[in-house]
Symmetry: C2
């Protein structure tokens, strides 16, 4: 039997999926599980996007342009203009989700053994993309005490080696919900220019900014046109995760010509998804106003509840729909599994993503969980009651 | 400005796309261009697939399972059973086209510097996938004189090194149309077992077999369950290239568990494409009977016309919708460009894919073009008249 690859063996398993069998077993025992472990919003996809699919009337579902349907990219230019980002259709390559866009960028910018710096905790699938591209992840710790703000720039400076090719940030952040400030991005700009690096920014949660704060994009940084690569997605913006439409955006012409070769090799992004995404650009503002109101209410339920629990702490982040909370527990993997296997409160329990999966540094995140507040307020309240009761009886409680 | 990656620079450009600007310029001059350069069929997508999309009534377009929607994979089992291929739903991972499936397999089986053997000429994008995965392509020449049959197994034997991890065939073949026989596949089985290699088979043209010949799949080979990986796609079968739905299929459990980790990192394949593809499985047989009748008529037009041209030769292959023809020309790249830039016959011309792009060996394919017979018979006849007239006046004619 031929051996599988080393990179295949090294490829990390999703930190969330490991727990899925325990959740299924719990449901079989009649326990209701509140899924706060996933990034799948329950918000409805805008009707305008669903209608566009119903109206699709071509007789042959053809390949689209490898960079994406032209009319879609032209319309996207308008979307970005509304966000004060000036780009052309040729600065955009549509991917099968931000996932594929990140792979295009990593492969275009980085060779086997090159290094990418990422503030941790970070979106776990960056690990997978890095393995895919043969790239080494160099984590720089951020801390719950600062609400997971950008680590000191001196920490980046120390981590840079001759193999460093890029820094990636997710803004607003998954898993922490942290919204980077203009000042933080200006600091990143300096170090990126100084060391001639690429600055990757995953801004798929751009619309999800709260407390009156405004999103500051890497595309707003002047003089960084050749260094900046933006990743975007319609998955969260329009609650349309299944359409698999994202984008890689850069004003670096050489980079985009290179990325286009990777895009051409896989022929084209999904046609139906592009049709839905193009229509979704006309989603009325009131849709987002309602969504943001809803998420703020949800976040407040979670943050307030956790901060009332003895020994627990949760920052109050201004973006995305995640928080990373510190709990008085010995091991977040063990705790999350115990919640599904050994605990219920009135036949209910709750499922978290252990934060260990979001750290590259071994041993970090043991007393932290990521909570996706993607359920309705009533359900979130019940989930928080479960957590409170669970902490009272968890055998691995630490204080 | 940060440098792009070595693999990015090494990544080949699509051999077809290079000519696109010349085709566009020709059209602007009022010249009609017969596109025999692409694999985009003009056949209509089955109505049943288009209807399924119209009936989609979920309010949230959610992520599907990373391996693909369960009901789709279950239904696919029935499709394969009809083709005498016995698999389970868990032997299938749905990808965004066969393209993504091939990347999953390459990354799961092969590390940077490993080698994959491919009979040439071969589907040009295998080069791109190999660069993507850091894998080296080792070509073994097949010849127009044998109709591009499997090269002697001794040629494979000579090409095998300690870094060889896999052989890939495309059956029926793109670009040659050649349909491999059971006997040829049995020979591959022996060598694969002897050297403990993976055997990758791209069978996306399975339905397109002519002259009463039946397709023999790698999945029909006994005792090769741990070595065989099948790639499939609905793009050609249902003329649905834009849905971006393909599959990686293997009975090797360790391999599939590894590939699933790569699939999980990108979350899920496109939902709408899966909905269309699932419905398409019920496409009535008469659809395929008509399609095959049409393609045979088209192939016959092309093959007969070319073999009547002095100094030209075209085999009569039994599969797919391509032929590779030998023409009395000095350089197929130059000739293909000349057809678009400097030639027209009654304001018409024809666009081919130069065969050089399908060979990894430098200098091969200079007097060959790939012809996709994806146009109606009337158009193909006109295109062949253009070719005949062009060969009379082409300055680089060789005999």
């Amino acid at each position: 039997m031929p051996e599988i690859s080393k990179k295949g063996r090294f490829m990390p398993e999703s930190p969330i999926r490991k727990l899925v069998p325990y959740a299924e077993a719990a449901k079989k025992r009649g326990v209701k599980v509140y899924h706060l472990n996933i990034g799948q919003p329950d918000i409805e996809t805008p009707q305008i996007a669903l209608d566009a699919i119903k109206k699709f009337d071509q007789k042959v579902i053809e390949y689209s342009h490898s960079a994406g349907i032209r009319s879609y990219r032209e319309k996207l230019v308008g979307y970005y203009k509304k966000n004060n980002i000036q780009i052309d259709p040729d600065d955009i390559i549509i991917g099968a989700g931000a996932s594929e866009a990140i792979l295009f960028a990593m492969n275009s910018c980085m060779d086997t053994g090159d290094e990418i710096i990422i503030p941790e905790p970070f979106y776990a699938n960056y690990n997978g993309f890095a393995v895919n591209a043969g790239v080494n992840v160099i984590p720089i710790p951020s801390n719950i005490e600062t609400g997971f703000a950008l680590p000191p720039i001196s920490d980046f400076e120390k981590a840079i080696t001759p193999r460093t090719k890029a820094i990636i940030i997710c803004n607003p952040n998954n898993p922490t919900g942290y919204l980077y400030s203009r000042e933080e991005l200006e600091l990143l700009k300096e170090i990126v220019l100084k060391h001639d690096l690429f600055l990757f920014a995953d801004e798929v949660y751009r619309e999800f900014c709260y407390d009156g704060k405004k999103h500051f994009s890497v595309m707003h940084l002047d003089g960084l046109e050749n260094n900046v690569v933006l990743f975007d997605s319609v998955s969260k913006r329009y609650s349309a995760c299944g359409v698999r439409i994202g984008a890689m955006i850069s004003k670096n012409k050489e980079l985009m010509a290179t990325a286009l070769k990777f895009a051409q090799a896989r022929l084209s992004p999904p046609t139906f998804g592009q049709v839905a995404a193009e229509a979704a650009i006309d989603t009325p503002d009131v849709y987002f106003e309602n969504v943001i109101k809803e998420y703020v209410a949800r976040r407040n339920v979670v943050v307030e509840a956790i901060n009332k629990m003895e020994g627990a702490y949760c920052p109050n982040p201004s973006g995305a729909f995640y928080v990373v909370a510190r709990l008085p527990i010995d091991d977040s993997d063990k705790f999350s599994r115990w919640l599904l296997e050994d605990f219920n409160f009135n036949h209910q329990t709750v499922m978290f993503a252990p934060a260990t999966g979001f750290y590259a540094t071994k041993g970090k995140g043991m007393d932290e969980v990521r909570i996706s507040y993607v359920l309705k307020v009533e359900d979130l309240k019940n989930a928080m009651i479960c957590l409170k009761e669970a902490l009272k009886v968890y055998p691995g409680r630490t204080n």
